[in-house]
Every structure is written in C-alpha cells, then in structure tokens.
C-alpha cells in the first residue's frame, strides 16, 4: 500500500521530465537514424527509402571527405596540444597551491573556456588578420615573412586548432587539478624520502596515476573537437559572407547539405557518421580503462 503510493508519486514526478526527454532527445535521435536511410528534399511529402545509398554517396563526396579530414585533424590537433600542456600546468598549479596567486593561475586559464565563443573568436581573428593583425606585425619586426593565416588552406586549419586549444585548455586543467588533489600524498612523501626530484615524481608517479583522468579528458576533448563549428565559422569566414568555406568542418557540411542543398536525408547520414565516431571514441576509452584495471 505504502509502496504503491510511493511508486505513484515517483512516476508522477518523473513523468514530465521523461516526456520532455522523449520529445527533445529520443525522438530526434531516432529520427536522425531513420532519415539517414531516406531521401528527403525538405519540401516533398514523400521520403523514399534508399537504404544505405546516402552513406555510399558520402564516401565519394569530395566536400564531405575534406570536411571529415579537417575535422579529424582539428580534433586530434587540439588534443595533442591541450592534454600534455594541461597536465603540466595543472601539476605546476597544484604544486603552487599555497601561492598567493594560485587563484589567478586557475582563473586566467579557465576564463577562455567560459567566455562567449564568438567574441573570443573575433579577438583571434584580429590577431591572425593578414594586414591588421599583431601576429604578422610581430613576425615582420622579427624579420620574418608575413603569412595570410586565415586564407591559406593549411594555416587556417592551424588557426582553428590554436583557437580551440586556447578554449579547451581551461577545462582540461581543471579536471587534472581535481585529479591531482585526489592523489594519495603518502606516495609522494615516500618518493621524496627516497630522493626523487619534483620532476621525477611527476614523470613516474603523477603521469601513471592520472592515466584514467588523462583518458577521460582526452576523449572529451576529442569529441568536442569533432563537433567544432562556431570557431571555424567565425575564423574562416571572409568578407563576402561565405562563411567557413575555407575550413570546411563536419557540422558545417551537414548544415549546408540540409538547409542550402535541401538534402536532409543526406545530412542525417553525416550526423550518423559523427555519432559513430563519438561512439567509437567512447568505446575505446572504456576498453582502455578496463584493460588497465584488469592488469
């Protein structure tokens, strides 16, 4: 009797949230999977079933392959730049926890992660600007050759990587800091008594002990790298209002196929590929964690 009443309350309380979830999460996710197997031009009532032909076409689509390549380079580039530096920074900040400026170190690294994306990207767009930017001015002063950072196909990808890393760093540092604070102090105590230097205990204690956290932050950084859009949109848009043509990324290609080329099913197939990438990365993370625990 009591149990039934409690059950009824739980269901009633959970129902609205569950309904919202079903409506704004589950349904569109299923719909993405479903649309990827259909052809739909946005206007027509008919959505003929086309099987896997959207996917087959995608792998011959030059624009899509460029987008996939750029996105992967950006995601892995950001990870390679961010994770090692975040670990070292977090180690140093943790080491100087008692410093008067510890709060400043943490906050200054974290602020780029929270500020609005577009204004921050705008600042970097100015820095990279070929004619007006301080970066080229600095290079010229030092006797170097000025570069057209945002108009060169390789350099512009590099610019997106730098911008994304600048933003991702704060999150990684924060998570590593939590990790450092949870490490057992006794191990470090023992290492110090054995004569280990600070660098040695970082290398031989912190790095292996933090492995699960490193794995987690790497995967999170990679996944958000694969979802990059705004950064490429702002940095690589030119004055003619053709945004993101230079650095084509997955999300941009997807939105363009859906809303400019009216190929919603085709765009949904791209979304499914994005989802598969994310699932593979998450799966790899769990597999690596388990392997480590099993040993």
């Amino acid at each position: 009797m009591l149990r039934r009443r409690r059950w009824r309350f739980a269901v009633m309380a959970l129902l609205p949230t569950f309904a919202i979830f079903a409506w704004v999460r589950l349904y569109p996710i299923v719909q993405t999977l479903n649309l990827s197997l259909h052809d739909w031009n946005l206007l027509s009532k008919n959505k003929p079933f086309v099987g896997l032909s959207n996917f087959i076409e995608l792998f011959g689509d030059r624009l899509f392959l460029t987008a996939l390549g750029n996105t992967a380079i950006i995601a892995f580039g950001v990870m390679l730049l961010t994770i090692p530096s975040a670990m070292v920074l977090a180690g140093l900040i943790h080491y100087r926890t008692r410093s008067r400026f510890a709060g400043f170190y943490e906050t200054s690294v974290f602020i780029p992660h929270v500020v609005s994306l577009v204004p921050a990207a705008m600042a970097w767009k100015w820095i990279f600007d070929a004619k007006l930017g301080p970066l080229n001015a600095l290079i010229t002063r030092l006797g170097g050759e000025p570069q057209s950072w945002l108009f060169d196909p390789y350099l512009s990808v590099l610019c997106v990587i730098i911008l994304c890393s600048w933003q991702a760093l704060g999150y990684a540092v924060l998570i590593f800091l939590v990790g450092f604070r949870n490490l057992p102090t006794s191990v470090y105590e023992a290492a110090r008594l054995d004569g280990a230097s600070g660098i040695q205990s970082f290398r031989f204690l912190s790095v292996p002990l933090l492995k699960p956290i490193t794995l987690y932050v790497s995967v999170v950084t990679l996944i958000s790298g694969f979802n990059v859009y705004a950064q490429a949109f702002v940095l690589a848009s030119d004055a003619q209002g053709a945004p993101g043509r230079l650095v084509r990324v997955l999300v941009l290609d997807m939105l363009e196929n859906s809303f400019r080329n009216y190929r919603v099913g085709y765009a949904a197939a791209e979304a499914v590929i994005l989802l598969v990438i994310v699932l593979v990365l998450t799966g790899a993370q769990f597999a690596l964690l388990r392997e480590r625990n099993g040993r």
């Binding site: 309350f9 309380a13 704004v24 140093l92 400043f104 929270v114 100015w126 979304a271 994005l274």
Partner: protein
C-alpha cells in the same frame, strides 16, 4: 632550501606570464573597442587607448539591435536554466531515492542519450520546432535546452552522498507527504549543487551557437552569439565596431564568471567524476 625558493619563484613567474598570455586576446579586444581606426594599426599595439573614443560603441548600437540580441540571449539562458534546474532537481531525487526497476531503466536511458552530441540530432529537432511554428522565437530556442542528462546525474550523486534515507523515513513517519518532503527537506539540502548546475546551464545556453544559428534566422530573433557572428561577415564592418560589440558581451560574462567562480568550478569539476 634556497634553491627550492628560487624554483618556486621561477614557477610562479612562468605561471603568471602564461596566465596573462591566456588573457591577452580578451584584454586586447576590449582595448580595441575604444580605439580610433588609426590607433588600431599602430605598432606595438597599445594596451590602454591613447585617446579613448566611444564612437565604435555608439555606431554599433545604432546599426544593430545589439541590446535586443542580448535580451534574447538573456531570456533564452534564464528560461533554460530554470527548466534544467527544475527537471534535474526532481528527476535526480527520484532516481536516487526511489529504487524501482522501471525507474532505473528510465534513468539509464537518460544517461545513454548524453553520449549523443547535440549536433547529431539538431536537424530533426529543428523540424519539430518548425512544425510547432516556433522558429525565430525564444520558446523555439528553448526546446533544444530544456533538459540536461548531466544535471540529473549531478543531483542524483549529491542526493546519494548527502541525504540519508533515515531523514526521509523520519519525515514520512511524521506524516509528511512526498511532495512536502521534496520541497521542504530535500531541496534546501541541495542548494549548493543546484546553484552549480544553474551557473553551468546558464553559460551553456548563453554561449550556444549552432542551435540558435538554425532556429533564429530573422535578424530580430538572433541571440547575441549569432548576431555577432553574422554581423562580422558583412562588407563594411570595421574592427573597431566589431570589437565594441564583442566587448559588450565579453565584459558582463567575465564579470559574471568571476563572481560565480566557485559554483562554476564545482559544477565543471563534477563533469569529470562521471566515470
């Protein structure tokens, strides 16, 4: 001992310089907002404008509905925060303290959808919003940001860690109804995590880009992020005005962050304990 002091000092110096470098792009942006076109080109770039001007700011405010974009963003972010705090609060409590099997399955489903990035399903979601006739409206924007799987998870962890079963049992024996218990006993104990979640949810909506970009296509319906991003693709826009517009958004959000830093850091740090 002396050598150690010297390394500490060196590390402090290194971290200090690095921190300043991280902030430089933002500081320069704000400085640029008050510069004349000539000064913007001078080398080395000046940190404090030699002859500060408000021209950039006034011309941006005249040319663009900047304030109404900020208004749209504020309404969107506040409503999203409200929705996420409400749904996460109650759902997190239920999944933590009502161990029915069906509920556990539902909870697993909530969590599983968190793996799927928003970008994957935003196109079908767009058509749902369109069908409701909510394109270019704040409620339309809101549809994408009503719930947060991580929020439910965060509250659940906090309920499990800080609210003992005995407390709830005692309240039941005293004749408290379930709703009364949630409202008067559970919620007050969750103030800290709910505040952290609120800050997180607010910033998430405030900085949203891809979703507002497709839902808001009319100039008057833009959020500030979309407005700025599209404003900068125009022909005639110069750097000073762009910087001024950006600074209008940047300064309040940095101030808000510095004020709410503790809550924010607590919330973000919690995302790392999912495993």
């Amino acid at each position: 001992m002396n050598r150690r002091r010297r390394t500490d000092l060196l590390i402090d110096l290194g971290l200090g310089i690095f921190g300043l470098l991280m902030l430089t792009p933002l500081i320069m942006l704000v400085a640029n907002a008050f510069k004349t076109p000539e000064e913007m080109l001078s080398w080395p770039p000046t940190l404090i404008p030699r002859d500060p001007t408000l021209d950039n700011l006034t011309s941006v405010l005249n040319e663009t509905p900047l304030l109404s974009w900020i208004g749209n963003s504020l309404a969107f972010a506040l409503l999203s925060t409200l929705a996420i705090v409400a749904t996460s609060g109650i759902a997190g409590y239920i999944v933590a303290k009502f161990p029915f099997r069906t509920i556990n399955i539902v909870f697993a489903l909530f969590l599983a959808t968190a793996i799927v990035p928003f970008e994957v399903y935003m196109i079908p979601l767009y058509f749902q919003v369109k069908q409701l006739g909510l394109l270019n409206t704040v409620p339309g924007l809101l549809v994408g940001y009503l719930v947060m799987s991580f929020g439910i998870f965060l509250i659940r962890q906090n309920v499990l860690a800080s609210i003992p079963d005995e407390l709830i049992e005692a309240a039941r024996i005293d004749g408290g109804g379930e709703m009364w218990i949630f409202w008067h006993i559970v919620l007050p104990l969750l103030r800290g995590p709910l505040a952290a979640l609120a800050v997180l949810a607010f910033f998430q909506a405030w900085t949203a880009f891809a979703w507002p970009m497709i839902v808001a296509t009319k100039r008057s319906a833009y959020t500030i992020e979309v407005g700025l991003a599209l404003f900068q693709t125009g022909y005639t826009v110069d750097l000073g005005r762009l910087s001024a517009a950006s600074a209008c958004v940047l300064v309040p959000s940095v101030l808000a962050f510095v004020l709410l830093r503790r809550n924010f850091v607590q919330g973000v740090a919690a995302t790392g304990m999912k495993e």
